[in-house]
Symmetry: D2
Subunit: 374 residues, 4 copies
C-alpha cells in the first residue's frame, strides 16, 4: 500500500505516522473551514503561520482618498511586524504616505516556432493585425478577463508573444492560462504556426527578470512620504543624513556591486508576510522583490523617501483568497479592488524600508534581532 | 485607544472587529501550540495554508545513501502537489534521483567607508591579515557558528565585505547578524574604519542577484535523473524530444530573452510550498528562484535532466522551524541535517520541473489548471 | 609652455618628441585627406589599423533583393578576416543568408525631477498629451530627424523619458542630443519640470543594458542560414551535431552561468572590425555585443543557424563616415541605406559565428591562432 | 576569378575597384611600416583614425610615484579629446589623481561534459588536486605565462573551468588560448573528461557579464580625485551639488532603471579612443564599459569622485601594440608595464567622467556637440 491509494487526509496522516513513527497532531488539527474551497492534492491537513497586525497606516491613495489601514502580516520572523509598525508610526506623524498604482496586466508568454526570420516577422504582423480576433476568442473563456495588448519578440525561428490581460479583481494567472490556451489554439489553426510551449518564460511568471522590472507585470505601485527631520530624530532615532548614507551605500551602490534586481532594503520581507496573510500566491514573492527605494534630503532638511515596485501580482478574489481565513485578513484591510490592495502593500513596504534603513543607520539591527528575533 | 495599547491577541482582534465591523473567528481559532516560541509582534492569531504531501521520492544522496522521502508542501495553488507527485513517480520508475549539496555559507555583507582608494585597499589587506582575530571574536557570539572566510570588493571610498558563516543546523541569518555586529565593532575599534551599514546589500539577503547566482549563498544543490524514453512516454505522456524542445525554448532562450536569473520552469512554486511547510523564511523564496535546469537526450534516447540551485537558504533548527507544526512537517521528511533537507528540496524541485515541462510539452497545462486549479 | 598653447599637429608632435625623447614619425605621416572634416581636438596626426576584406557574402535581404557583398574589416587580430571569410564561403555554398532589419530609433533619455509621485505621473501624462507639440519643436532642429515616439518610467521624484528618433541615413547621436535639448527647453518652459540631466542613462548610450536588449536601440537585425550537413562537414570540418553541442554549452548555458548579455560566440570581434573600417563610433561596439545566436539541427540533418542583434547603432553619413577613407570602405559594401548596412553587418556577424563555432567544435581554435595569430 | 585567388593588397584593391566601380586610393596609400608584423588576412591596405592628445594628467600611482602623462586618443567623435582635456585640467589643479591597479588575470574558460553530477564534482576536485601538474604543462607553452589559479562551476553534466593567467606585459589572449589548449589535452588524457569547447563563455571574453564585473578580468583599476569647490566652479563651470545630482540620477538610478552593467557616464568613449590609439583589441572595449563612478560632497564642500573598472584587458606588448604606429602612441604615455598603462587609462576615464558630468550639470552638452561635433 502506498500513499497514492489513500483517499482522506486522516488516512494519509496515519500512513505517514506509522511509516515514519511520528506524530502529526497539529497538522491534523489545523483544519480549515469546511466550506473552504481547498485546492491542494494529497491533503494531510494544514500548516500555520503566526499573524500580527501593523498600523494604522494613513494613506492618500491615487484617487485622492485618505484612509487608515491595518496591515495583517503572517511571519515567523521576529521584529518584522514591530519594524513595519514603527515605519507606520513615522509615516503617520508625517501626515501619511501618498501612493499610486497602475495596471500593467497579468501576462502569459507562449513561444512559437516558425521556419525562420521572414516567417517570424510575418507572424508578428499577423498577430498585430488579428488582435481583435484573438481578443474576442480569449474573452469568451471568462467574463472577468480582458485582453489589453500583446507584445512580440522574434529571434530566428522563435517567436515570443506576451499577452497582457486585465483580470479584474483576481490576480488571474489561471484565467490567463486558459485564455491564452484558447488564443494559441486559434493561432495554430488560423496562422498555421506551431506553439512550442504555452508558457515560454516570456510571461515571465515567478522568476526575477529585467523584462518584468522594465515593462512591469501585474501592477506597478509607488508610495512616498516626507518625514520631517524631527520625526526622523525622535521616532526613528537617527538623522536624515545618516539614513541617506545607508540608503546610498546599501540600496544603490551595494545592490549594483551585487548585480541585483532589487535596489531596496527588504521589500521581500514585507511582501512575503503580506502575501501569506492575504492568500496571494507565495511564489509571486519573487517578482515583488524587484524595485527601487529612493531618498532625498530636501532643502528644509526633511527626508523624502519613496518605493517603486514594478511587478506586483495580487488579487482580492480567486486562488488562496477564497479561503475563509484569508478573507478575514483581507477584511482587516478592507480594500475594494486589487489596485487598492496593491497601494496598501506599497505603503507597508515603504514603512518597512523606513524602519530598517533607520535601524541600520542607528546601528541597532543586531540588537533588535537579538531581543525580538529567533 | 489604538492598537498599540492592547496587549493580547484577543483584545487586538476585538478592536479590529469593532472598528472594521468584521469577524476574525478563523484567525482567532488558529492557535498555535502553547509551547510554541512565537516571534511575531502584535499577534492576532494565525493563518493557515493547506498542506499536501508528495512522494515517496527515491534519492541517492551525496553520501551515497538511498532513501525514500515524503515531501510536505503547503500551498493554495491547485495542481502543484499533483504535479510534483507525478514527477516523483517518473523519477522513481527511473531508479531515483542523484543529488549533491555543498555548503557555501550564510553571509552578511557590511559596507564601510574610508578616505579613498588607498585606504580602501589597505583595509582590505588588514581584513585578510586579521581574519583569525575576527573569526575568534565572531565565534564567541554563538557556539553554533563558524566564520569560514571573507571576501572584499572596494569601490572608491566604499569597502564591501562578505562574511561567510557555517551556522550548523540553522539557516542562521540572525546568528550571523549578531556575529557580524561583533566583527564590525572590532573593526571600528582596531582598524579605525567606519561601518556605514551592518547590511550593505553585499550579503545579499532576500534579493535576486548575480552575486548569489555566481558565488552561491547558503547551500548549492544539484539533482538529476535519467528518465527512460518509455517512462517519458507512459508516465509523462510526451517524448524526450518534445520535452527537450520546450526546455530549450522556455528555460534557456525564453529566460535569456527576458533577462532572467532563473533559467528554469518553476523552481519557485516548489520552493515556496516547501518553505511554507517546513518553517523556512518565506522571504528567502526569492533566492531559491535562481538556478538552471538542463536536459539532454542521451544516445540511447533516454532523457537526462538536472536542476542546479546555487542559493538555498534553509535550516532544520531555529526560526520558523521551532514551531511544533513545522517540526511535524520536518519529521515527515526526517532529514538529519540542513544539507540533507536541501537535497530533498532539490529532488522535489527536479520532480516539479519534469512534470511541468512534460505538461507543457503535451499541451495539457491549461486543461490541468482548469480541472485542479482555483 | 604647455601643449595647450600649441596650435598645429606638427607643433604638438615636436613638443611631445622633445619632452619624452621619442619619435612620432608614423603618427605624423598618417595624414588624412586635406578635405577631411576631422573632428578631433589637439590633433597630432592619425593612427592606422590594417584592413582586410571578407566575402563575397550572398545576402537575401528584407526587401527580397539578392546581392553579393564584400566586407571590409579593420583589425589587428590575426585570424579574424580569415574566419569571417570561411563563414561567408559556407553560407554562399548554402545559398546565402536571409537577413531582416527594423528601425528602433536613436534614443536620448533625459531625467527630470518633480516634487513626488503624483507630479511624476501627471508629467508623464503631460508628455503623452503633448507629443505632437514636442515633436514639432524637435524636428525644427534638423531636416533629417523625426521624433518617432517616447517612453516614460517614473520612480519617486525621478522621471526618465526615452525619445526615439529616426535619423535617416545617420547614426545621429549628435542630432538627437540637439533635438532633445530643444525638447527639454520646451518642457522646462511649458510643463515647469526641471531637467536634471539631458542624458540620464535611460537612452542608454554606450553601456551594456537589458533596456537596450529588450527594447532595442538603433536597429534590430537578424540573419540566418541553413547549412547542409555536407557543407558543415566539408567546409567547416565538423558535424552539425558537434557544432550544436558547442553552441548550447557555450552561447546559452555558458553565457547564462556568466550573467552575460551576449548569448553568442563573438559578435564583438566582427562588429569592432566592421565599425573601425566603416567610420562608426567605436564606443557603440558595446551595444553591438548584445544579442543571441540560435542553432537547430533540422529533420533532414542540416544546420539552421541565426543571429539576432537588438542594438545596432550605425549610419552611412555623418560622424566618422565623413572621412574619405571611411567612404571608400563604405563604397566596397555599397549600401544605400543604414538599414542595408546593418543587414550586411548581420550577415558578417553570422559568418563569424559559424566559423568560430565550427572551429571550437573541431578543436582547431588554438592551432589557428598559433598560425595566424599575434 | 574571385578575391580568394588574389595574393597582394594591390590586386585585391584593383579587383574591388573594377567590380564595384570605386576608388580605394586612401585605403591603398595607408601603408603601414614595412617592418610591421601585420596580422590581417586578405589585406587591402589600412584605415585611419584621427589622433589627438590630452593631458598632461598628474597621477599618483599605486607605487606612490607621481608622473605627468600625455594621453593619445584616436577618435572621430568631436569634443571627446577636449572633454578629457578639461577633466585633466580640473584634476591637475586639484593636485592630481590617485590610482590603483590589481592583476586579476587573463582568463580562458573551457566547458567539459561528464556523465552527471557526481562525476562533475569529482572532476572539480581532480582539477584542484592537479593544479600544479596542469600549471607545469601550461607554462611550458610560453615563457611569458603563469597559471595563477582556476575556478570551477558545475551544472549537471557541464563543468565550466576558468583559468587565470598572468601574461606579463601582454594582454595575452592568444597565449592563454594556446596554454589552455595544452591544459585541455592533458585533462582529456589524464582525467578522461571530454572538452566540449575550449572557450565556453566562462572566460568570458568580449561580452558584457556580471561574472567579469564581480570577479574582474585582466586588471581591476581605480582612480580618484578630490576637486575643490572653487575648481568645480571655475574650471568645470558648475557646483559640486549640481554635479552630484546628475551623477546620482544618471549613473546610479538611471543605470539601475535600465538594467545596466555600466554605472557610469561614458567610460566607453575614453576606452575606445585609448584602445584604438595604443593598439589594444577593440573588441575588449565591451569589457571596459563595466564599472562604477562614485561621487561624494565632502564636509568641506569639495567634491570626491572615483572610477572603478573591474575588467580592463590591456597590454604593452603583443597584438596590435606591435605595429610601429601603436608603439609611437605608447611611447607618448611611456608606461613600463601593463599595470601602469591601466592606471593611466583609469586616470583618463576619470577625467572623462568629471568633464561629462560637469557638462550635463551646467547644461552645455548639446551646445558643445553642436560646436565641436559632427
Amino acid at each position: 500500500m502506498t500513499l497514492r491509494d489513500l483517499i482522506s487526509p486522516e488516512q494519509r496522516r496515519e500512513f505517514l505516522e506509522k511509516l515514519k513513527k511520528i506524530h502529526l497532531n497539529n497538522i491534523g488539527k489545523t483544519l480549515m473551514d469546511k466550506n473552504d474551497p481547498i485546492h491542494c492534492e494529497n491533503l494531510i491537513g494544514g500548516t500555520i503561520l503566526p499573524m500580527g497586525v501593523a498600523g494604522p497606516l494613513k494613506i492618500l491613495n491615487f484617487k485622492f482618498q485618505i484612509s487608515n489601514y491595518y496591515i495583517p502580516l503572517a511571519t515567523t520572523e521576529g521584529a518584522l511586524v514591530a519594524s513595519v509598525n514603527r515605519g507606520c508610526k513615522a509615516i503617520n506623524f508625517s501626515g501619511g504616505t501618498t501612493t499610486a498604482v497602475e495596471l500593467v496586466g497579468t501576462t502569459r508568454g507562449p513561444v512559437f516556432e516558425t521556419a525562420g526570420i521572414k516567417e517570424s516577422l510575418k507572424f508578428r504582423d499577423w498577430l498585430d493585425n488579428n488582435f481583435s480576433f484573438l481578443k474576442k476568442g480569449a474573452e469568451k473563456t471568462s467574463s472577468h478577463i480582458k485582453l489589453m495588448k500583446l507584445g512580440t519578440r522574434t529571434n530566428g525561428r522563435y517567436v515570443y508573444v506576451r499577452f497582457y490581460f486585465d483580470t479584474s479583481k483576481a490576480m488571474g494567472m489561471n484565467m490567463v492560462t486558459i485564455a491564452t490556451q484558447k488564443i494559441v489554439e486559434t493561432i495554430e489553426k488560423a496562422a498555421k504556426i506551431k506553439c512550442l510551449s504555452l508558457a515560454g518564460n516570456f510571461d515571465i511568471d515567478k522568476k526575477p527578470t529585467w523584462l518584468n522590472f522594465i515593462f512591469g507585470r501585474g501592477r506597478r505601485v509607488w508610495a512616498e512620504a516626507i518625514i520631517p527631520e524631527k520625526i526622523v530624530n525622535e521616532v526613528l532615532k537617527t538623522t536624515p543624513s545618516r539614513l541617506y548614507d545607508v540608503w546610498l551605500a546599501k540600496c544603490l551602490i551595494g545592490s549594483a556591486m551585487s548585480g541585483s534586481l532589487g535596489f531596496n532594503a527588504h521589500y521581500t520581507n514585507v511582501i512575503a508576510a503580506f502575501f501569506a496573510a492575504t492568500g496571494q500566491d507565495l511564489a509571486h514573492v519573487v517578482e515583488g522583490s524587484l524595485g527601487m527605494t529612493t531618498t532625498k534630503i530636501l532643502e528644509n532638511g526633511n527626508l523624502y523617501i519613496s518605493v517603486y515596485l514594478p511587478d506586483v501580482m495580487i488579487g482580492i478574489v480567486g486562488g488562496g483568497t477564497k479561503l475563509i481565513i484569508k478573507k478575514e485578513a483581507l477584511s482587516i484591510i478592507g480594500a475594494k479592488s486589487s489596485s487598492e490592495l496593491a497601494e496598501v502593500l506599497a505603503g507597508a513596504v515603504l514603512a518597512g524600508e523606513i524602519s530598517l534603513l533607520a535601524s541600520l543607520a542607528e546601528g541597532s539591527l543586531a540588537k533588535t534581532h537579538d531581543r525580538l528575533g529567533r
